[in-house]
């Protein structure tokens, strides 16, 4: 059963690369911002349906929540648009490597300081080695 969970997680990651490659193509014809808009628009419809049928939480928390905690959508827009712009120029491989490095390094910093409501987890020796290996990978792939 554990193996199936690993396969599901691998498939989840592959879905992101397929998404980047396909949106790179769509971006060339209809425009990059327009492609992001399409993704968020249809995503809203899909998630809206899931929410109507399966939502067990409290959407109304939106109006009480601290304002910084509802900025996730804007950050997601920056992420997706940067992929749509980058893929046609440098390919899916480098794009994904760069996104992953940005993501992993920033998570370490956020957790080190316990920013944005995260649990404080100090940067340790292993994480420094990880960053060095990622920089070597980025230099090799470019």
């Amino acid at each position: 059963m554990r193996y199936i969970a690993y396969i599901l997680a691998l498939l989840a990651g592959s879905a992101l690369s397929f998404e980047g490659a396909i949106y790179g193509e769509l971006g060339k014809t209809i425009g990059q911002l327009e492609t992001s808009f399409y993704n968020f628009f249809v995503g809203s419809i899909i998630m809206g349906l899931l929410w109507v049928f399966f939502g067990k939480g409290k959407l109304s928390y939106t109006v009480e929540a601290p304002k910084w905690s509802i900025l996730g959508g804007l950050l997601g827009v920056v992420y997706l648009t940067s992929i749509v712009i980058s893929v046609p120029f440098v390919g899916v491989g480098i794009t994904m490597v760069a996104v992953i490095i940005g993501q992993l390094v920033m998570s370490m910093v956020i957790e080190h300081y316990g920013w944005l409501g995260s649990k404080k987890t100090r940067i340790n020796k292993e994480k420094v080695f990880a960053v060095i290996s990622m920089i070597i990978a980025l230099v090799l792939i470019n």
Partner: protein, 153 residues
């Protein structure tokens, strides 16, 4: 040009990581589906404004685009659902690391074969070594996270 693109994409990764912390904080009170729904709605609203002022493409081109390109909208949702299914069985860290490996391997394969009409970049020795170093990095991240979760904080 390609250096600028890489820096720009690093920024994309940075915002994604900030997004997951922010959404994590929000979802503790509001729920996972609700958080994702809100993320998509606010993203749509921001993009609608950006397109009004800076859009140079053609939004209505969506209606004429090939359907296989439009199907990508379901891949993002698939990612979320599969991750949600995997996390309770193997934990957040293992699920994220397996996800990243899938993302990297498929990304390099798409480049190698030029699937979906993208650039063709062969998977040569240099790229294979890059993949190896990414896997080493993920191993260290796994070790590092395991060690910090064992230490009392």
């Amino acid at each position: 040009m390609s250096i600028v693109m890489i820096l720009f994409t690093l920024l994309g990764g940075i915002t994604l990581s900030a997004q997951s912390s922010i959404n994590g904080a929000f979802s503790r009170k509001a729920g996972t589906i609700e958080t994702t729904f809100l993320t998509f709605i606010t993203g749509t609203l921001f993009l609608a404004l950006f397109i009004l002022f800076f859009g140079q493409g053609n939004v209505l081109g969506i209606l004429e685009a090939p359907k296989w390109q439009l199907s990508a909208a379901f891949l993002g949702t698939m990612y979320l659902l599969l991750t949600v299914m995997a996390v309770p069985r193997i934990g957040v860290i293992a699920a994220n690391i397996a996800g990243i490996i899938g993302q990297l391997v498929i990304g390099l394969l798409i480049d190698h074969f030029g699937w979906f009409g993208s650039l063709v970049i062969p998977l040569d020795a240099k790229r294979s070594f890059a993949l190896l170093f990414m896997v080493i990095a993920l191993y260290f991240i796994y070790k590092g996270n395991k060690r910090s979760s064992e230490e009392p904080s």
